[in-house]
């Protein structure tokens, strides 16, 4: 059973499983780290906030991502791209897979992009592809609970 706890971050709130480690760095506002499994990659969720130019929109960023991801990642496959909402703030969710050559491991990732009040809010979920079935419902719940402070 997953026990959830509230997390209040700078400019956002969400819920996370209470047994996930919470970390932060100067560059990444929060990292949630799932308990270790026997997978080569520890499942994690990163959230960043960065100021952006006033005219920047999520559509602009998604367009740039499309151009560069294909060449930047080995065996890149975009599996889903759809609009998402954090409360009333609209964003874009991009789910993709690629191969980490260092360990020859298939990686699944999902990135949420929001721009609100000239701040880029990103949410990056990362997992070994074998973990997808188990992790997906947890991530869905986290993403569903996400609210940006308006």
């Amino acid at each position: 059973m997953t026990i959830w706890m509230n997390f209040l971050g700078p400019g956002f709130t969400l819920i996370v499983p209470s047994d996930w480690l919470i970390q932060a760095t100067p560059e990444i506002q929060v990292i949630f780290l799932a308990p270790e499994t026997n997978q080569m990659l520890q499942t994690n969720l990163m959230i960043t906030l960065r100021p952006v130019e006033p005219s920047v929109t999520v559509v602009d960023i998604a367009a740039f991502l499309k151009e560069t991801q294909q060449t930047d990642y080995a065996e890149f496959v975009l599996t889903r791209e759809q609009p998402i909402n954090a409360g009333t703030i609209a964003g874009i969710e991009r789910m993709f897979q690629w191969v980490d050559r260092a360990e020859n491991m298939r990686v699944g990732q999902c990135q949420g992009i929001f721009v609100h009040q000239e701040v880029l809010f990103t949410l990056t979920i990362t997992y070994a592809l074998e973990e997808k079935e188990r992790i997906q419902p947890i991530f869905d719940e986290i993403v569903d609970s996400l609210r940006l402070v308006e």
């Binding site: 709130t13 929060v30 560069t68």
Partner: protein
């Protein structure tokens, strides 16, 4: 109703509410799964639309209660209960709410380590079942002879007297590690993280004289100033901050612990760094004049606090860094020319590059090394 009856009914009610919250959590997981399944099965179906219309508000209400009210409400009840315990002269049980609702989440603390040699910030993750982040409480003076166990034990006894609301301004970092900030008072801060990492600072008013000794085994420590990440290293580092001056001419705080300030800063450092890649000795200096925006927050979950911060600078930064490094037995001079940087908001392309770098970091940071 007598106070005894009130006490009894309050206890029963707390127990019921706790069970209810747990039950709700269970049901919520199931509801969430059902919801997802519905979403998959019912595509373009009016029945689904009706379902969402009729139950969407309920879902939002339950979610809101779970996110914002359940813990607060139990805390409120527990405060009343403790008041009664105090009235009756009984031993007060603290933090039961944590155990019931938060179930002692193993929280780790991430902090900033200002590298005296390179003047770059490093990530230091302090892992402890007993959450060391309480060192964020202001105006704490910690004896340098304390062990971590001593510290935690004393903090445990002191914590009950400290309101969570006194936690403020946690991102001030007058030196290495998570600093306990009080800009105008002398303080001795000791941060002990992983059992093999010790960082000590002595800060006197706005001047910082510090030394740090960091013996770093395979703990997570990466330089996050670059897109690529160093491997964890084994080594030690001794750094001396020759001069650290900071003038804050104006400051505007926000409600969550961050704020803006107009700063002038001058740092001079000398250090010896020995790691697997070699030994280096260097001098560095940097100065900054400009506006600093510090968007930060504390997460208050019972008594556990997690620090996170976003700092942006808009101003002129001058950096000089020179090191003599002994690598593979040969001395080399490594240095940088003075540079002036102005930090600006991201363009769409830069934002996209940031996201790509983040995605790679998320793998690089938490990938286990293959043993084959």
């Amino acid at each position: 109703m007598t106070l005894n009856e009130l006490d009894e009914s309050l206890s029963e009610f707390i127990q019921m509410l706790t069970i209810f919250n747990h039950q709700l959590a269970l049901d919520w997981d199931k509801l969430q799964r059902d919801w997802i399944e519905c979403d998959i099965i019912w595509k373009d179906d009016s029945m689904r639309e009706n379902f969402v219309r009729e139950w969407g508000d309920m879902k939002n209400a339950i979610q809101h209660y779970r996110m914002f009210e359940s813990i607060r409400y139990i805390e409120f009840l527990w405060q009343r209960k403790q008041a009664l315990d105090e009235y009756f002269g009984r031993a007060i049980t603290h933090f039961v709410v944590d155990e019931l609702v938060l179930h002692q989440a193993p929280v780790s603390l991430a902090g900033y380590e200002l590298d005296n040699n390179t003047d770059s910030e490093r990530l230091v993750i302090l892992r402890s079942q007993n959450v060391f982040s309480r060192s964020l409480l202001p105006d704490k003076t910690v004896s340098t002879s304390d062990t971590m166990a001593d510290y935690i034990e004393r903090e445990d006894t002191q914590l009950s007297d400290i309101s969570p609301h006194v936690i403020r301004d946690p991102v001030e970092k007058p030196g290495n590690g998570i600093a306990i900030s009080s800009e105008n008072s002398a303080q001795v801060v000791q941060n002990i993280s992983h059992s093999n990492t010790i960082i000590q600072n002595i800060s006197i008013k706005n001047y910082l004289f510090s030394y740090n000794i960091a013996v770093r085994p395979l703990i997570i420590e990466h330089s996050l100033k670059r897109v690529t990440f160093d491997d964890p290293s084994i080594g030690f580092k001794i750094g001396v901050s020759l001069l650290k001056m900071r003038g804050v001419f104006a400051r505007w705080n926000n409600a969550i612990g961050g704020g803006s300030s107009f700063d002038a800063q001058l740092n001079m450092n000398a250090g010896l760094d020995k790691s697997e890649s070699g030994t280096s000795f260097g001098l560095s200096a940097n100065s900054f004049v400009g506006l600093k925006l510090n968007l930060s927050g504390t997460q208050w979950a019972g008594r556990y606090v997690s620090l996170n911060g976003l700092e942006s600078k808009l101003g002129i930064e001058l950096k000089v860094q020179n090191k003599i490094a002994i690598e593979n037995g040969w001395p080399r001079i490594r240095g940088s020319l003075p540079s002036i940087g102005i930090v600006t908001p991201l363009s769409p392309g830069e934002a996209a590059n940031l996201m790509i770098a983040l995605a790679k970091s998320a793998v690089g940071l938490f990938r286990k090394q293959s043993t084959t």
